[in-house]
């Protein structure tokens, strides 16, 4: 046995074991920040006689706070992404082709949904439809029209960039099954998949490093919704692309790449900076904090007619940029439930429920 080598191993090993403790004391790796978007567990207090719960909490605290943890994950992320060309967090983010990232299974089994492994049963589709019909009837009593607007997943619009082993199923998707159920009713159900597929021939409509549609995709989505509404809301002006100034810029890092801590190395190649003409611009008049959702509600005035009430998820955020230009008053709120009292107070002519495709089951309890 090579004794000088084993001595060296002994010394280095002893030093390495103490490095995390040193880091926790001195903050040596503080420039590597967490991108977890959550409150990490704090140091628990010992509360006699509840030692067992302290042990559990301390375990969790140490797991999330040990020295060099973030730095180690940064290196791990680059090792997996750049060298092995795989996702560092495959359940969170799927690495596709041509620089595309997709949301992974940890969110509502979205990948399995698109692979046809989580089909929507006809019963579930019927239950969702019946619930929406109830909402529609309630709103109709106060003279309000309901529109259901589905924002497609990027997996649906850009399936060609999904990894080969995760290709889309040829069977009808969950959204197809819901659409079939809704087709037998008079519900206003806005499915914009084909519109976006057509639009992507000329422009990219989703971010490559983010879960969301980009500014251009949002504009196309809003235009489709407004054009649909015009059938029975003739006061709504037609949407024309010429009403918008579209500028291409280099993009930033999206939420998916940030989750992998690779935001400094990988960004979206394109960002559309879109500004509506003054005649199609709404003006924000109020921001109302919403403790429950964590995101504020927003009120707008605009040059159009009618009153819009839109409740939706993060895909609705960009819609605030365009829709207020077509209504006199607009109210946007984040949520997955329609607040009947608030709707009554707002007295909208139109209620839009926006849900991203992977969450359509939420419509059963909206």
């Amino acid at each position: 046995m090579n004794s000088s080598r084993t001595r060296l191993i002994a010394v280095v090993f002893a030093l390495v074991l103490f490095l995390p403790a040193l880091d926790q004391l001195l903050g040596l790796s503080s420039r590597f920040s967490s991108t977890e978007n959550r409150q990490l567990t704090g140091m628990p207090a010992v509360n006699f006689p509840h030692v067992r719960s302290f042990v559990k909490q301390f375990d969790q605290y140490y797991k999330e706070n040990f020295g060099w943890r973030n730095a180690l994950f940064y290196v791990y992320s680059r090792w997996k992404f750049n060298i092995l060309e795989q996702s560092p967090l495959p359940e969170k983010v799927v690495v596709g082709k041509n620089g595309w990232l997709y949301l992974g299974n940890s969110y509502n089994k979205v990948i399995d949904q698109h692979r046809g492994l989580q089909p929507l049963s006809v019963d579930s589709a019927r239950r969702i439809t019946n619930h929406l019909l109830e909402i529609q009837q309630q709103l109709a009593r106060q003279g309000t029209e309901l529109y259901i607007f589905i924002a497609p997943d990027s997996h649906t619009i850009y399936p060609e960039n999904l990894p080969d082993q995760l290709q889309q199923s040829e069977e009808p998707s969950r959204l197809d099954i819901l659409k079939q159920a809704v087709a037998q009713t008079n519900l206003h159900f806005v499915d914009i998949r084909d519109t976006l597929r057509a639009a992507k021939r000329n422009h990219v409509v989703y971010y490559q490093t983010d879960t969301h549609w980009n500014e251009y995709g949002t504009l196309i989505g809003c235009a489709s919704l407004l054009n649909y509404m015009r059938h029975d809301q003739p006061g709504i002006l037609p949407v024309q692309l010429s009403d918008y100034h579209i500028e291409r810029q280099h993009g930033a890092a999206g939420d998916l790449i940030k989750m992998l801590t690779l935001q400094d190395e990988h960004t979206d190649p394109i960002y559309y900076y879109i500004t509506p003409k003054p005649s199609r611009s709404g003006h924000q008049t109020a921001v109302i904090p919403n403790e429950a959702m964590g995101y504020p509600s927003t009120r707008f005035t605009g040059p159009g007619s009618g009153r819009l009430f839109l409740v939706g998820d993060s895909f609705s955020h960009g819609m605030m940029h365009y829709l207020p230009g077509y209504f006199r008053n607009s109210f946007f709120m984040r949520g997955s439930k329609l607040d009947a009292a608030l709707v009554k107070a707002e007295r909208p002519s139109v209620v839009v429920i926006e849900v991203v495709e992977r969450n359509i089951y939420q419509l059963a309890t909206f």
Binding site: I9, V12, A14, P20, R38, R52, V55, F66, S314
Partner: protein, 479 residues
């Protein structure tokens, strides 16, 4: 607390070692004992008392045997240790089996016979066997009983082998318990062994675990035959690298505090018969059963039928030792049956066969055996075996898990490394490296540095994977 957890690696271990090395030698056992109890209680809580009770029973039993009350001591040890083991590990299994039989034959069930929640003390199978080996060795006059409960308790409880073995016999470490030396060289050898074990566990076993878990947890109609084979190969590598990696870490930690534990694995997947496999797999367990069950039963000293009976008894108990389930028993008996057939003549034929054929037979038998080991119920095992044989129909639903679903660069590389490291390539490499260093004296510092950098590169890689396991980001802020 797992060896492959951040809290052990960066909190418990460094401070344990620091204090251990700062303390005078006479306090080493006391500190090791106390730290080991803390280590155990950290994860298990009050169940640490079961460990202490087991240790106390066998300590008293050893003293009784030494004092001439041989039978009383032996019975105390066997009844005490085994009743604890039976209660904590097998009581529910026994009740469940009785209820199952009663239900099948519509027999009356005794009032009050029902399943209750019993927390299984981790490592109970290991420390029970250690205790029994201790008293039996005293009974047979092989060793002297330890007069100090502190020393004996240190032997039973010491954290390096406390949770997942190897089953260390008192006889093997008695001299070191009384007086052991710790040197920087020994510490270095231990550290190297620990790092290799950690890398085996984190980089290989965990990678194979995710493959095997996905396949074994999937409904059988969602994957084809090839995937089933991939699953069982993955599991075979997982269990080997997991268990042998843990043993490496235990041996390494033992060395760091001055103990020399025996090897527990000797490349079992290069075996050319099931007999050979059991000489190489979990050696501390198979030799325990040989010395304390098989030989006392008569071993192979009587008739052939007696030998076969003894083999089946030993392997029935071996299966049961691994867990309270019929699948483990079937796995044990399945191996026992192969040993029986090999003893009946197949073994001789295998020796004459072209080695790759004997090797293929062994691997196939072991792989099939692992199906019983991995699955939780007999129907699950049968379904999986049917899938491996291409029976039971091909997937009807959308095929969720074709082999291509799993075979990414990392897994392919891991499989290749796994196949290579499951053979004695690393010892060859080490010997070759030593020869190279000896020959190129002028650059031996450079060569040693390369080796150390490589070793710690492996350590950092393993710790990176541990850190990634704790990283749980959300798209939107979660409070």
């Amino acid at each position: 607390m797992l060896f492959s957890s951040a809290i052990f690696l960066f909190l418990f271990l460094p401070f344990f070692l620091l204090i251990y090395y700062l303390l005078p030698k006479r306090f080493h056992n006391a500190f090791l004992f106390a730290a080991s109890l803390c280590f155990y209680a950290w994860g298990e809580g009050p169940v640490v008392l079961v460990l202490l009770l087991s240790a106390l029973i066998n300590y008293i039993a050893g003293r009784l045997i030494e004092q001439g009350r041989r039978r009383a001591g032996l019975w105390l040890s066997l009844a005490g240790s085994l009743s604890l083991l039976f209660y904590y590990k097998y009581a529910n299994f026994f009740v469940d089996s009785v209820l199952g039989v009663a239900k099948a034959f519509t027999l009356p069930v005794p009032a009050g016979l029902a399943l209750t929640h019993i927390a299984l003390p981790i490592g109970i199978s290991f420390y029970t066997f250690q205790g029994i080996s201790y008293t039996l060795d005293i009974y047979w006059g092989r060793i002297k009983a330890n007069r100090s409960f502190l020393d004996y308790g240190t032997y039973v409880a010491m954290f390096p082998h406390q949770i997942a073995g190897p089953i260390v016999r008192y006889a093997d470490i008695a001299p070191e318990l009384a007086d052991r030396t710790t040197t920087i060289e020994k510490f270095g050898i231990g550290a190297e062994r620990f790092i290799l074990g950690l890398a085996k566990k984190v980089l290989l076993a965990n990678t194979f675990a995710s493959l095997a878990d996905t396949i074994f947890n999937a409904p059988p109609d969602t994957y084809p035959t090839a995937t089933a084979w991939l699953g069982i190969v993955g599991y075979s590598l997982q269990i080997y690298f997991d268990f042998s990696g843990y043993s490496d870490m235990a041996i390494g930690l033992g060395k760091m505090v001055g103990f020399d534990f025996k090897e527990n694995f000797n490349y079992p997947y290069v075996a050319r018969s099931i007999q050979d496999f059991w000489r190489r797999w979990h050696i501390s367990l198979s030799s325990w059963f040989r010395d304390y069950v098989y030989i006392p039963l008569g071993g192979n000293r009587a008739s052939k039928m007696r030998t076969y009976r003894n083999l089946l008894i030993v392997f029935f108990v071996t299966g049961l030792w691994h867990g309270a389930s019929w699948n483990f028993i079937i796995w044990g008996l399945y191996h026992g049956l192969f040993l029986l057939i090999e003893r009946a003549g197949l073994g001789k034929r295998l020796e004459r066969l072209w080695p790759p054929v004997a090797h293929a037979y062994t691997i196939l038998a072991v792989l099939v055996g692992w199906v019983f080991f991995r699955t939780e119920t007999l129907p699950e095992a049968i379904h999986f075996l049917q899938k491996m044989l291409g029976l039971g129909g091909q997937p009807t639903a959308m095929m969720a898990y074709p082999p291509s679903y799993f075979l990414n660069a990392e897994l392919i590389v891991s499989l290749l490394i796994g196949f290579v490291l499951a053979t004695p390539v690393y010892p060859y490499f080490q010997r070759g490296w030593e020869r190279l260093v000896a020959r190129l004296v002028s650059i031996h510092i450079l060569l040693n540095s390369i080796y150390v950098v490589g070793l710690f590169g492996l350590f950092v890689l393993a710790v990176m994977y541990l850190a990634a396991d704790t990283y749980n980001p959300f798209i939107y802020f979660r409070f």
